[in-house]
Structures are given as C-alpha cells and as structure tokens.
C-alpha cells in the first residue's frame, strides 16, 4: 500500500513523515512522529485530550486526517515551553495543582493557549466555555479555570 508523504512544521521543526490516507493526525503524531504528549481519550472529538494548534487554530487531532497536515504549522504540548522556560500556563497549572492524573493536561494547555492567544483577558465564563470541549474527570475544573485566569494575568503583566 502506498503511503502519503507529509511535510509540515511541528513545534518549530520541519518534519516529514509517511502516513496512510485514512490515518488520523493523532495517530501520525504519536506513531510516526513520536509525540506521545498528544493523548487519545476517545478518538471521536469528544474529549479534547488530543488538542493541537494547526496554523494557530485549535483542533482535535483525532478528527483531522494526517495528509491534511501537509504544509501546516502544528503546535503540540511538547512545543509550548521555550527551552527550559515553561509557558505561563504550564507554570500556573503546576503551582495551581490544576492536574491530578495528568492525562487531559496536554489538551487543556493547548486549548487554554488557543484562548489566551485570541483573548488575553477572558472572564471566568469565557474560560469555562473555551475549555468546554476538554474533559477532565479528576479536578472538577475549579483549579484548571483558576490556573488559566492566573496565567492570563501573568502574560498580560509581562507583555
């Protein structure tokens, strides 16, 4: 079976991989590129654990076919930190105890980044609606929402 050649930029690096035409971007990222921070919770776009930014826009990578990634810029949780310097969202999640088991955390961080990139000063309600596509079964969302609001403050203060 012939495979499709995909060239894209992932977390700042030019990446090439071969994929099946019916393969999801999630499977390609995990199995072909080795980015295991992208998690699969459902495979049907209902949990958000596989969230990535594609050309800056929030997507469930399980709902995108891998060949569609050709020529795009992708950001996964592995690309959020600047070297050893964590993104404020990552730091606030740690300090705010916004994760328990941690399986949903990569998706929440990406979804929260998508929000703050668009809306640097969200209200609590805006945070809650922006994260409504990401499921967390451990925390009840309280500490996640607080951590995103705190990160927004920190980002505004440093700009």
């Amino acid at each position: 079976m012939s495979r499709t050649h995909v060239i894209c930029n992932i977390n700042g690096d030019d990446v090439e991989f071969l994929c099946d035409d019916g393969e999801s971007l999630l499977d390609a990222l995990r199995d072909d590129v080795g980015l295991m921070g992208v998690k699969e919770g459902c495979g049907t776009g209902d949990c958000g654990a596989c969230s990535v930014l594609m050309d800056g826009k929030l997507n469930c990578s399980c709902l995108i076919l891998a060949p569609e990634a050709n020529g795009t810029d992708l950001l996964t949780v592995e690309g959020m930190a600047d070297g050893d310097h964590l993104h404020p969202l990552q730091q606030c999640f740690l300090e705010g105890a916004a994760l328990q088991c941690g399986i949903c955390t990569p998706g929440f961080l990406i979804a929260a980044k998508a929000l703050l990139d668009q809306n640097p000063e969200p209200t609590e309600t805006e945070v809650r609606y922006a994260l409504a596509g990401n499921l967390c079964r451990c925390t009840g969302y309280d500490k996640i929402v607080r951590s995103v609001l705190e990160a927004a403050v920190q980002i505004r203060e440093t700009v």
């Binding site: 919770g41 209902d46 994760l99 088991c101 499921l135 451990c138 969302y141």
Partner: protein, 746 residues
C-alpha cells in the same frame, strides 16, 4: 479555607509544593501505558460479543489466522478453566468460555503487525452464537422466569437455602432493635422508592497495556492500574501461571476512580506475546471502555424513615437491590453498611439484594454503593425536616453520631468529624447567604469507611544527603507529593531533596491496590515508619562518631544533635557522606498492614436553578466540607473533594447507561454519555475540616472517595426546594424534570 483543630507545628506537612511528577505532565513527557513502544511490538485487538446473553456454539479463527500480519489469535479455550477457584469469574470476564454474558464481553483476541491488521483479522473470526434471553433491570432479573446467568448460582443469606439457581447472588440483612416499634413511636413517617442507573468512572485514559513474554517463560507487563501487585496476581491466575513469572511495571495512570482496580487486557497480551515471541500492546477504544469495563451499579431502593417531632430519627427500614453486572459481587452489602451511617438510631432493618444481570461486571467507583444509598436516605431526611419544620442542618446535627456510638455496620465509631463538617457548612458564607431568586438549596451528608491494608516503602539516603522514597502505590493524583512531604517532615529534609518513586513489583515490597482512600494513609504510614527507622540509624552513626550513648543524640530538623551539647550538630548530608566508612549506606524498609483508617464524612450545600420551560438545571453555587484528618498537601485534598463533587453532579443530573431492547448500549461515547464540562459548573468551594485520625502518625484519614457520596441527595433536595418536586429516579435530566413538572401541574 480550612477549619482546623489545634495541631502540631509542621514544617512540610500541610504545605503546597509543586508535585514532583508535575513537570513531566505539563510538558508531555509523562509516560502512560499507551505511550510505550517496544522494538518488534505487535498490536492487539479484541473481538467482543454483539449479544447480551448467548451460548458460544463454535469459534472459527482459521480465516483470521491466515490474514496479513497476524501473529497470534487466542480464544477462551487457550486459557485454563479456573472454575470456582479465586479469580475464576475474573478469568471468565477477561475472555468468555462457554457463554457471553453482556454485549462487549471479550470472545477472542488477535495480535498483528498493525492495529488495522488486528482489527480486520478480529472481524474475520466466525463465532456461532445461540442467543439466550437477557435481563437488563433489577425487576427483570429477580423475576422467577428470568433467564439464569449462572447455572450453579444459589442465593446466599436465605434460610433454608434455595434449591434452585436464580440471578440473586445474596441477601444481606443488618438489624437493630424493633423496626415496627420504631414506626409505632414515630410522629412522622416518610417512604419512597428510588432508582439509579449504572455510572461509568469515566477516566479519560482508556485501559492499555504492553506485555513482553520472554523465552524463559517470564513476562513483563507495563500497564496503567491502581495497583500493579493485583495486576500481577490476577494476570498470573488467569493464565494459570505462578505469580513469580509476572513482573508488572506501573505506567502513569490516567484516572481510575476505582475502575482500574481490576484487569481486562493483561492476560490476553501476555499469552499472545508468549505465542508470537513479540511484545504485544493492547489499547481499548472509548467504545470498548464503555461497553466492557466496569460501571458502578444501578440500584433500586425502597426506604422508610420514622422520626419524632423533635427531629429524632426513630428507625429506618430499607430494601436495597444493587446490580452486580454479569458476575457476583457485594454491592448491596456495601449499600446496607453505608446507608444510615451518618445518623444515630435505635432501630433499623436493612435488607440488601445483590443480583447479576446482562451488563458489564461492576468495578469500584469512588465509595462504591454509598452514593445511591445516601441519595435515598438524605432525600427522605430532607422530607422529614420539611414535614416537622426543622432546619436541614439542625436535624442532621440532632442525629449526629459521635465517638463511642455504635456504627450501623458493627463497630463503635472511633474519632470522627461529621459534627464538625455539619457545623462548617452551617457557619459557611454559602449557607448564611440568601438562596438566589428562582433557585433552591439542598443539604446532604455522606460517609465512607476508608481502609488500611498492606503497604510497603523503602527509603534510601543518597551519598549527597538526598533521599529516595520508593513505594508500591501508583500516583493517581498527587500521592508522590504526599509521600515526599511526610518523608521531609520526618527526616528534616527539604521536600525537593526527596525523590518519590513508584516501584515495580520486583523492587518494592507488596502493596495492596489503591482503593478505600488508602494510599496517603497506609502507604504514608509505611514511609513514616521507614523514615523513623532511618532516623535511629542516623542517630547511631552520630553516637559512634561522638563515642556517646545513642540516647544522647536527638534528631532535630535534619541534624543529629548532641543533647548534652559536647559536639557540633551533624547534618544528614555529613552523615551520609561518611556512611561508607561508618557502617555502610543508610536505607530502611517498612512493610505493614495499616490499621485504624479513620472514617470519612462530608457535608455539602448546593444552590440549583431549574428552568421550568426546559427542565434544564444549573448548579449556581456548591460548597463541600470534608474531614481530612490532616491535609498533607491541601491543594490535592481540595482537588479530591472537588473532583468527587463534580462526578456526583454528573451522576445526579446527566449520566446514565442507555440500552436498546437487545441489551446493546446506545450511548457508548463521551458525546452521548455526557460527563460534566467546565461550562456546566461554578467554582467548587472547599472547607477542609481537620479532626486528626489518632491511628496515623500525622492524623491522616483518606480523602479520595467520600466527596462523591452527598451530591446526589444534595442536588435532589435543591431541586425540591426550587420546584417542589421530589425526584427519586436518577439522572435528574431535563426530560425527567420536565415530565415531573408536567405531572405536578396535572
């Protein structure tokens, strides 16, 4: 917010450091079971029953075996029949033998080069079924003409024993006093029938494992579980192997809530790895998780509560039937043991019935069986309070048990903090604030036993003065940090000088599964015991150096101090640096069976708005007060409380299993099985009550489970306050509320 009794001045316990495993989890480096890739690894897929109940007449795997990439195919015939031996039912649940007992029951498994090849081959397996009648409800399965699931199942707990098999596993009865007398003496009697559906634990990480079986007949299993020692013994049993042939390495666990205290995949992966000579990975889909892994059971409960006009509960009579799923369990017994525990009473008659039916076998879910029981009890108590015109907190305080009172299930209550939880809610800003317009307010309490069980810990001091703490409890939500905090407090080392590690089954002593809110309590106790052993060793090294009696050496804030003051204090780092010359490296191990797990209580208050046009509910405000004994890491205590509350909110308002007439689940996705999302909720306000558990060196009592117990009744009581409706069937979904509002109008 914390309501704290006087307690010692700890340096580390009660602080909120960043958890040690946190960094890997925010940069995508934490490795869960599905993330492991081994050279030459195959992918497994499982063929599952499309029928709720059927005999397996024949299985033909020849076509599948001939397909591209297929390296191994196994069926139930490839595993030993354990019969009535321990884990016999578990083995039949891992892979069906003669019968399938629910839709989704595993029938065969395939390992192939790719997942796609494995799925295609599984679909090429031909199974001939003889479809049988099935039962999906408690009423159906208890009826005399129900199709029998297990031929030899004779109901326990009935005298004389029945002579014919039924689907009723056992009758349990807890009796005190004279229930008829109780009702004769009552000024008010309320009774209702309640029902709840199965609820899935809903962990976001599907079950996954990798097995690599070597030529030497030993296997290594990487998996996500709440207890790798149980995975080891259960996997070995199902395979008919000696336990020592199985090594289990715990991966990070992506949520469990009780649902990962058992096994589903591991023996299949091990056997296929043995046959193919290659590592085998199996990862469930979400659909498989819903159809084939354990929910908490549905229930049907009839309760009758009597009380006097001053609020004194005279007695409770309960008939409680709990689903067990396809294989026998003890859910109803736990329901009976928890239903009236937050209250004192002279008379009770609690009768429980465990039944099997054609649904996935139960797995534990956070305080298993208690939430449904509390739903019934605390709804009726609310009705009593309403009838006699008493405040819902006051009636609970009036009937509140205290130390030395007999617990309904047998023992006397040790030190407990229910009264303090009730008072904390009564005195909270939330309870003192007026109920918002067009909303209602509800109160409920909950109880969970908590348990101790076996735990092991090894603490090694490194030559640079740091410490490594190895335990056998998987870190399901911050336990590494708790272990490090207790070790830091004991040794007087900075918490970040401690490296907490979850060890595999061959590097740390036996440790029971993480259940019963036991990890911080029991495994923490082992850590403290090992650290105390080490402190004695450290003092001995100092006494040798100083040529003095060890009794003259104290351990103070990470230093050996000579009490008479003749020598300068020696730091832990100075002692470990010299350790090779003074008697060798310093390390200690403790293995124990922890006793005295302090019971957990919690009281909740919630404000709910109900849209009478649509039946939609909105949680406006929620406050929980819970006795944690001592909060080792308060952020993660709050997290357990908040997580339990929100799971309870989902259970109360939205979550349910929907089956079609053939017994097939119709909502096996997160789209249709709707767990709460961020926009459904307000902040969850927490009040940590600290009534220390005298049986633990730091006063810890488990905090993981009790938070899910009160929300069902608290929300039902709030819906009543808002609408006048008594909702006795869960979930209180918009269609149900709308229908009830319509009936109320008529």
């Amino acid at each position: 917010m914390t309501a704290t009794e006087e307690r010692p001045d700890y340096k580390y316990v009660g602080t909120r450091p960043i958890r040690h495993d946190g960094l890997d989890k925010v940069i995508g480096k934490a490795r869960y079971a599905a993330d492991l890739v081994l050279p030459g690894m195959l992918h497994g897929h499982i063929l599952r029953s499309p029928h709720a109940h059927a005999k397996i007449v024949s299985i033909d795997t020849s076509a599948a075996e001939a397909m591209p990439g297929v390296k191994s195919v196994v069926t139930g015939a490839d595993f030993p029949d354990l019969g009535a031996a321990p884990n016999g039912d578990l083995a039949k649940n891992v892979i069906a033998r003669d019968k399938v007992l629910y839709e989704g029951h595993a029938v065969a498994a395939v390992a192939a080069g790719t997942r796609r090849e494995a799925m295609d081959a599984a679909n090429a397996i031909v199974v001939n079924y003889e479809v049988l009648g099935h039962s999906l409800t408690i009423d159906q399965t208890m009826s005399p003409d129900a199709e029998i699931l297990h031929d030899g199942l004779i109901t326990r707990g009935i005298e004389p024993a029945p002579t014919e098999a039924s689907n009723i596993v056992a009758r349990t009865c807890f009796e005190r006093g004279d229930i008829d007398q109780a009702f004769a003496e009552s000024d008010v009697i309320v009774e209702r029938e309640f029902s709840t559906t199965p609820i899935h634990q809903g962990y976001i990480e599907p079950h996954a494992c990798v097995a690599d079986t070597g030529q030497d007949g030993k296997t290594v299993v990487w998996c996500s579980s709440q207890g790798h020692f149980r995975v080891r013994s259960a996997t070995a049993d199902v395979l008919g192997w000696d336990t020592s042939r199985v090594k289990v390495i715990p991966a990070e666990i992506g949520g469990g809530f009780g649902g990962k205290t058992t096994i589903y995949l591991e023996p299949l992966a091990v056997e296929m790895s043995a046959r193919s000579g290659r590592p085998v990975k199996i990862v469930m889909t979400r659909d498989e998780v819903f159809r084939a892994t354990g929910p908490t059971p549905g229930s049907k409960l009839k309760l009758k509560v009597g009380a006097k006009n001053d609020g004194t509960i005279t007695g409770v009579k309960a008939w409680m039937a709990y689903e067990n799923g396809a294989f026998p369990g003890n859910a109803a017994m736990l329901g009976c043991m928890t239903v009236v525990s937050p209250y004192t009473m002279e008379h009770m008659y609690l009768e429980g019935f465990d039944v099997v039916l054609n649904k996935p076998v139960n797995a534990a879910y956070r305080a298993p069986s208690a939430p449904m029981a509390a739903f019934a009890m605390d709804t009726l108590l609310d009705e009593v309070a309403e009838n006699i015109g008493m405040d819902p907190i006051e009636i609970r305080l009036h009937n509140c048990p205290s130390e030395g009172d007999p617990a309904p299930y047998g023992p006397k209550w040790p030190t407990i903090g229910l009264k303090e939880c009730l008072e904390a809610i009564r005195d909270s800003d939330h309870y003192k604030s007026p109920v918002p317009e067009n909303a209602g307010r509800g109160i409920a309490s909950g109880f969970w036993f908590n348990i101790g069980e076996a735990s092991s810990a090894t603490v090694n001091l490194n030559e640079n003065g740091t410490a490594t703490v190895v335990t056998g409890s998987p870190d399901i939500g911050g336990s590494r940090a708790s272990m490090a905090l207790m070790a830091a407090e004991e040794l007087g080392l900075d918490v970040y000088s401690i490296t907490p590690v979850v060890g595999d089954t061959e590097v740390v002593g036996f440790t029971d599964v993480t259940e019963g809110s036991r990890a911080t309590f029991a495994t923490g106790m082992a850590v403290v015991e090992a650290c105390r052993d080490l402190k004695m060793q450290l003092r001995q090294r100092a006494s040798t150096a100083w040529d003095c009696d060890v009794e003259e050496v104290e351990w103070v804030d990470g230093h050996a101090v000579h009490s008479p003051g003749d020598h300068e204090a020696l730091s832990l780092a100075a002692i470990t640096a010299a350790a090779k010359r003074t008697g060798g490296p310093l390390g200690a191990t403790a293995s124990l069976n922890a006793r005295g797990a302090g019971p957990a209580f919690s009281t909740h208050v919630v404000d709910i708005a109900v849209d009478k046009e649509t039946g939609q509910t909105q949680v406006l405000r929620y406050t929980t007060a819970q006795d944690a004994g001592t909060a080792i890491h308060p952020s993660y205590v709050e997290g357990q409380m908040q997580g339990g509350v929100v799971q309870g909110i989902g259970w109360a308002l939205n979550e349910e299993y929907i089956h079609d007439a053939d017994g097939r689940m119709e909502n096996s996705s997160f789209l249709d099985y709707r767990i709460p999302v961020a926009s459904d909720l307000p902040m969850i306000e927490t009040i940590i009550v600290e009534v220390p558990n005298p049986s633990h060196p730091y006063g810890v009592r488990g905090v993981g489970e009790v938070g899910i117990v009160p929300p069902l009744a608290a929300i039902a009581n709030a819906v009543h306050d808002a609408t006048g409706l008594r909702m006795s069937d869960l979930p209180m979904s918009p269609p149900r509320i709308l229908a009830a509002l319509g009936e109320a109008v008529e």
